[in-house]
């Protein structure tokens, strides 16, 4: 259960980033996994080639990732803002591929080791093996999500973003600038991508294809309704736990199949996801 919750917490971070962009801009960001990957490579670059220690390297990675989000918004999404929504979605695929192959060319295709946030030596408490580095993943995810909650719940800026996500026209009428809001969403979401990458990459090792893990984030987001931030968090944790339990009780080779079967069942039975209310539309 604990190992499932740890994997699930990373899925939750990814899902929150995806839902945030989708809610705020209508775009499904298929390049999110590659942004996650780029964030970790920035960390490795800062450590290996700029000689930074881990904490400042993490800071650099998160800030530069935010700047990448800013660049995506200004250089790609703003010029495409009046085009059919399919066009910016395809653009995110192209951005992802460009990031992936650009980094593969610059940093090479071979795996890079990424430092763990805490020790990997296990402690045994009451017969249970506790690994600090695993707890760091869970702990970081919880802290980040609490920070996000506080930001959206208790700051004007956060509430403005939520308002713009919920009702862009209404937000404009009350004076919330749409451009600044979508820019903030891209920056915040890109920083989340970097954080998700930094917590998971030590476990998996870093290659240009690490972004494939975002598929699980997509699944978690769909499970949670793709429009609900709490839903994304619960969807992520739930997916991780389902995976772990099906791996143990069904078959380790079948755990992805079981997880996705649950996902399909949720989509069929609850098309709006577990946490998203179906909305009636007047015609």
């Amino acid at each position: 259960m604990l190992s499932g919750a740890i994997a699930g917490s990373v899925y939750a971070l990814i899902a929150v980033g995806l839902v945030l962009i989708h809610n705020g801009t209508g775009v499904v960001n298929f390049g999110f996994g590659d942004q996650l990957m780029a964030g970790v490579y920035i960390l490795v670059f800062a450590q290996q080639f700029l000689g930074l220690s881990l904490p400042p390297a993490i800071l650099v990675a998160v800030i530069v990732s935010g700047l990448i989000g800013l660049a995506i918004q200004y250089l790609v999404m703003t010029p495409l803002r009046n085009r059919p929504v399919l066009i910016p979605i395809v653009a995110t695929i192209a951005i992802g591929a460009a990031l992936r192959e650009g980094i593969r060319a610059f940093m090479g295709p071979n795996p890079w080791p990424v430092p763990f946030l805490l020790s990997t030596s296990p402690y045994r408490i009451a017969g249970i093996s506790i690994v600090p580095s695993d707890l760091a993943i869970l702990g970081t995810a919880i802290v980040v999500m609490l920070c996000l909650y506080a930001f959206f719940e208790f700051t004007k800026y956060g509430q403005a973003i939520l308002a713009a996500c919920a009702n862009p026209t209404g937000a404009l009428i009350v004076g919330i600038p749409a451009g600044a809001t979508t820019t903030s969403i891209w920056v915040l979401s890109s920083m989340l991508a970097a954080i998700a990458g930094i917590v998971i990459a030590p476990l998996t090792s870093l290659t240009p294809d690490i972004g494939l893990i975002a598929i699980k984030g997509f699944a978690a987001a769909v499970l949670g309704g793709f429009a609900s931030l709490p839903g994304a968090v619960v969807g992520g944790i739930l997916l991780g736990i389902i995976e772990a339990l099906s791996g143990y009780y069904v078959s380790s080779a079948m755990k992805d199949i079981v997880s996705y079967a649950v996902l399909v069942a949720v989509i069929i039975l609850l098309p709006s996801g577990l946490f998203n209310r179906a909305t009636a539309r007047k015609v």
Partner: protein
């Protein structure tokens, strides 16, 4: 006793050799008075770029060196590289471009089983000598195809056999766990290990599977802990294998861990972390790219000087090493084919290579019915300081 299946297999191989023979006679496409044109085909982008970039770097270095030394029988090598993009359709298109448009004499590559196996029929019918230095599918050389040679690497069938021989020799409890990836790579590898263990006999085998994208292997490892295995073979790609090895140590599994050649890369121990200490991997050669053997040191210095951007990625790696070794072996074949060079003569000269050493990877032996240059392997051990040593004993699949 020779089985009917074995007779059919040999006959099939002979038919492939005979049927394609007429395609090569006196064919000197790509050869001029002063040049021999070689095509380098490999995955430079996509998930398999690790092998393709090594193929290009190792090949380029060896070709540049021979040109600097005056060339081969009065001719310089000229080469053109095509990216197969880790995709079978792109690989087929790239191969056809090299053969039909670029009119190359021979091809160095492809570099991954995912591209090479779908290309097999096209390569066989082309008549172009193909020299494969990296990937490990046994289908490329068994049954033998007249114009396709492979050096250096250890094919999956041979590797399975060698791993089984090794783990059976170290398992005191005669109980071995196979922890394998759930795809074709893991399935074929573990099947080969399992079949050989059954041949050896008196060994209990327990098997667990994992998906290549998994990050948590606790449930499988707990089941292995409940078995009485004292050796665990991990047959999977480097990333999941690294997590398996780390988590096995964290859970305190009392097993000797042995990985496939996928875990024998130079940066693997750093990827796993301190838990890598004491783990072992199968490797194709006794020479490590970071080692101090004379030819390896020469190669490493030349590689680092020629490709500084790759050197900062902790290369040369095993793939660069195998490609350089392969290119030098191909060059030897071209030399022995003489000035009056044809595809038929190159194939004949390659067939004549016996225990050909480059000092970079395991010796190469081909023959009229043998296209697999290397059929032996070694065991590599990671020490407490995460440095690597190769254990002295060689294991043969023959």
């Amino acid at each position: 006793m020779v089985t009917r299946r074995e007779i059919l297999k040999v006959a099939g191989g002979a038919m492939v050799l005979v049927a394609t023979k007429s395609a090569y006679a006196a064919d000197a496409t790509g050869v001029t008075d002063d040049k021999i044109k070689i095509g380098i085909l490999g995955d430079l982008t996509g998930h398999a770029a690790h092998w393709g970039s090594g193929n290009l770097a190792g090949g380029t270095l060896a070709f540049e060196e021979i040109n600097a030394a005056g060339g081969i029988n009065g001719r310089k090598l000229e080469w053109i590289s095509v990216d197969s993009e880790s995709s079978a359709p792109k690989g087929i298109a790239g191969f056809k471009r090299l053969v039909d448009q670029e009119k190359v004499f021979a091809i160095f590559g492809p570099t991954s089983s995912a591209v090479g196996v779908p290309l097999l029929k096209t390569m066989a019918s082309s008549g172009v000598p193909i020299f494969v230095p990296t990937f490990s599918s046994p289908l490329i050389t068994n049954p033998p195809v007249k114009n396709i040679f492979r050096s250096g690497t250890l094919n999956d069938a041979d590797q399975g056999r060698i791993i089984a021989d090794y783990v059976a020799s170290i398992s005191k409890k005669r109980s071995i766990a196979l922890m394998r990836q759930s795809d074709e790579y893991g399935k074929n590898g573990a099947t080969n290990v399992g079949n050989r263990l059954k041949e050896i006999g008196n060994v209990k085998i327990s098997e667990e599977q994992f998906n290549a994208s998994d990050t948590d292997f606790t449930s499988q490892l707990l089941r292995i802990r409940e078995s009485d295995a004292d050796v665990m073979v991990v047959y999977g790609y480097p990333a999941p294998s690294a997590i398996v090895m780390r988590q096995a140590k964290q859970l305190g599994l009392p097993v000797q861990i042995v990985g496939s050649t996928a875990t024998a890369s130079r940066t693997y121990a750093a990827t796993v972390g301190k838990e890598a200490a004491g783990t072992r991997s199968m490797t194709t050669t006794k020479y490590l790219p970071e080692g101090d053997d004379a030819e390896i040191v020469k190669f490493r210095k030349a590689f680092e000087a020629r490709f500084p951007e790759l050197a900062r990625q902790t290369r040369p790696e095993a793939t660069d090493q195998l490609a350089y070794h392969g290119a030098k072996t191909l060059i030897e074949g071209l030399k022995r084919a003489g000035r009056d060079l044809t595809r038929e003569k190159l194939i004949s000269s390659l067939e004549g290579l016996k225990d050909f050493e480059t000092g970079i990877a395991s010796a190469t032996t081909f023959g009229p019915d043998r296209r697999e240059g290397n059929r032996s392997g070694y065991v590599l051990e990671i020490k407490d300081d995460l440095s690597r040593i190769v254990l002295p004993k060689a294991y043969s699949a023959i």
